[in-house]
């Protein structure tokens, strides 16, 4: 048998029908994740056609994109920003109830950002095919799943048939050698990969992340890395599962247990790229050369070390990005005045991210001119953080501690910046207007964002991380 990559192994195992010249492959989907924004039209299409949801048992729904992160109203109802967002959530509740789909509803301990909560619940397992009407579905690839975002029409296809029509993507391997230096986070590695690949460097490909630096990452850090694969245009990002993966998954609610667990692990251990597996494209990076990163333009690949100077624009687009950000080429951006700091999202809204923030904020104060929002990625993250007393550290420092949701990552729920404000954000997109009209977004790691909050300016996190002060 010929050598296969991890991606090909998972792909081949899910072929209901192989592709031909004229027809795409029919790919079986093990897990379909649904949320309120990209599903209503899919459900209504099926209703119009009189088609039922084929496998509600393989489908799970949460509400995250347009949900408020502020406390409930006095009457106990969620404080929606407007009637449309409320209608979206209520439509999801109704569609799930009718189809028999399990929904992580308002009072569920599993409610949260779709890509944060599904792994926590053990819904994301190695070797699965996972889809969601959301481009950051690549996050689940951290477990060795083939996970990618789909459009609403395809959401309808999966609801109706549990299958998707897909052409086989190309494969790419990004090997990262060495180990990250202290003070350099998985998010910095991710931004360094984006800078190396460019905004369309991964188009048409599934990326496998490999190498010593990737193996050394914990599960939450691996999710941060896979999460942003789409920012290089890639369909998906994957990491071969290993002991770190299995340990993280064991005992989670929907993960197999007992004899089924042992059987599953034996199966998962076959999920790696064979030695001679071919890749359509390969790049190699060195983790030892990576520093805390920050973006300076209006696309996630425009990233550089926080302590370097903004590079000269190579194109009219670069120029436009710099103009939008009001940054000058050849000048450092450390020292730029910060208005808002956002901690959260499916990139960096997990417990380890909040711990990194707390390490910087403990015994310190958020700068008086900075508004800081800390939004846990899920209800489980919120509870775990509170159990450790992180909320206390945040509130004492002057930050706002919110309810879980996507919040300022997509700015649909009312959490957003004002025109012209500079936002340091741990999310994944710095597109013009992503966090509100005219808002200037700088992407960074949780530690860097926290350092910026304290300093009131774009700052290097490393000095803050050496000796945390005691409160």
């Amino acid at each position: 048998m010929s050598a296969k990559s991890l991606f090909e192994k998972v792909w081949d195992r899910h072929l209901v029908k192989a592709q031909t010249q004229n027809t795409p492959a029919v790919l079986y989907i093990d897990r379909h994740l649904v949320h309120e924004v990209t599903s209503p039209q899919a459900f209504s299409d099926l209703q119009e056609k009189g088609v039922c949801v084929r496998r509600p048992d393989l489908t799970f729904a949460t509400m995250d994109h347009s949900t408020p992160t502020t406390p409930r109203r006095a009457d106990g109802t969620p404080d929606y920003i407007n009637a449309q967002t409320r209608a979206q959530v209520e439509t999801l509740q109704k569609n799930c109830a009718e189809a028999g789909i399990e929904l992580f509803d308002w009072d569920s301990p599993a409610r949260g950002v779709v890509h944060v909560t599904a792994p926590e619940q053990g819904l994301t397992l190695p070797g699965m095919t996972i889809v969601c009407g959301d481009s950051h579905t690549a996050t689940h690839g951290a477990f060795g799943a083939l996970a990618f975002g789909i459009g609403t029409t395809e959401v309808g296809h999966v609801l109706a048939t549990q299958c998707l029509l897909q052409r086989k993507p190309k494969s790419m391997r990004v090997t990262i050698n060495g180990r990250l230096n202290p003070g350099v986070a998985a998010k910095d590695m991710t931004l360094a990969v984006m800078a190396a690949l460019g905004a369309d460097g991964g188009t048409g490909h599934v990326i496998e992340y490999a190498g010593e630096a990737v193996r050394a990452l914990g599960m939450e850090e691996r999710m941060t890395l896979c999460n942003m694969s789409i920012e290089a245009g890639a369909r998906a990002g994957m990491i071969a599962p290993d002991a770190v993966t299995f340990k993280w998954l064991k005992g989670r609610k929907y993960a197999p247990a007992g004899a089924a667990w042992d059987k599953a692990v034996a199966e998962w251990k076959t999920l790696f790229s064979d030695d001679d597996a071919p890749f359509d494209k390969e790049i190699t990076l060195d983790a030892r050369l990576m520093a805390p990163m920050i973006t300076y333009g209006s696309s996630p690949d425009k990233a550089m070390a926080v302590d370097s100077v903004t590079p000269p624009p190579c194109s009219a687009l670069d120029r436009q990005g710099l103009d939008y950000m009001r940054f000058n080429p050849g000048r450092p951006i450390m020292g730029e005045k910060v208005d808002v700091v956002f901690i959260g999202s499916c990139t960096n809204g997990r417990l380890s991210d909040l711990r990194a923030v707390a390490q910087v904020l403990i015994g310190r104060q958020v700068h008086k001119d900075v508004r800081m929002l800390i939004v846990p990625g899920s209800e489980a993250v919120r509870r775990a953080a509170q159990k450790e007393g992180l909320d206390d550290i945040f509130i004492r420092a002057g930050a706002q501690w919110r309810e879980p949701g996507c919040s300022m990552c997509i700015a649909m729920n009312g959490d957003m910046g004002a025109p012209g404000e500079l936002v340091i954000s741990t999310s994944n997109r710095n597109f013009e207007g992503r966090q509100g009209k005219g808002v200037r977004t700088v992407l960074a790691s949780p530690a860097t964002a926290a350092a910026c909050a304290v300093w009131g300016e774009i700052a290097d996190p490393r000095p803050f991380m050496e000796a945390p002060r005691v409160a």
Binding site: N82, S135, G151, D200, G204, R235, F431, G433
Partner: protein, 197 residues
């Protein structure tokens, strides 16, 4: 009333003028800002197309509005820079473009998920070589003939270029059929696959 998914109408040939937006990496947040995704139908999204480029903070039209004065009935082809449609998987992006009146996007590279979403909504995602693209950028308002059967774009009097497009999506458009039907016809194979799990 929700309007029907337009992918089930036959599509063969389009003769129309172009609107040029010569910028690379036009992402889905520019095509339709997230705050306009709070809908539960596909209606009216054309009004939100490129909203922040067309309207200022007070909702007044900008002088620089790239679509100003363009008649969507005669200008149905958008010529855009490299890597068009990057970013999110929101199908609201092609819905906004078709809602405005566009029937084809021409670029040198179109992002994967956008391309797949566009084709399902009878919005042709066409990738051309850099030379042909440069000709189109230099001639905003040019009338083109797009032939989906022959897979050609013609700039009359100048050139005819072939383009490649995912053959299954193309056939569905030519025949006016819903691709869901193809999947539903695989039911026996799907059931067999599930039984073997």
């Amino acid at each position: 009333m929700s309007h029907k998914n337009p992918s089930h109408e036959k599509f063969e040939r389009l003769t129309s003028k172009t609107i040029v937006l010569d910028q690379d990496n036009i992402d889905t947040d520019q095509i339709i800002p997230a705050r306009y995704l709070t809908c539960t139908s596909r209606d009216g999204l054309g009004q939100s197309l490129f909203y922040d480029w067309r309207f200022d903070e007070a909702g007044q039209p900008r002088n620089s509005d790239p679509l100003a004065g363009k008649d969507a009935r005669t200008h149905r082809i958008l010529v855009a820079g490299n890597n068009f449609g990057c970013g999110s998987s929101r199908e609201h992006a092609p819905w906004a473009l078709t809602g405005f009146g566009f029937a084809a996007i021409i670029s040198t590279k179109i992002a994967d998920i956008f391309k797949s979403n566009a084709l399902k909504n009878a919005l042709l995602p066409i990738e051309l070589d850099a030379d042909a693209h440069a000709d189109l950028v230099a001639a905003p308002g040019a009338e083109l003939v797009i032939d989906l059967k022959a897979c050609t774009v013609e700039m009359p009097g100048r050139w005819v270029r072939d383009f490649t497009i995912e053959p299954f999506g193309r056939q569905c458009l030519l025949d006016g059929v819903d691709p869901l039907g193809f999947l539903q016809n695989c039911e026996a194979d799907i059931a067999r696959y599930e039984a073997a799990l």
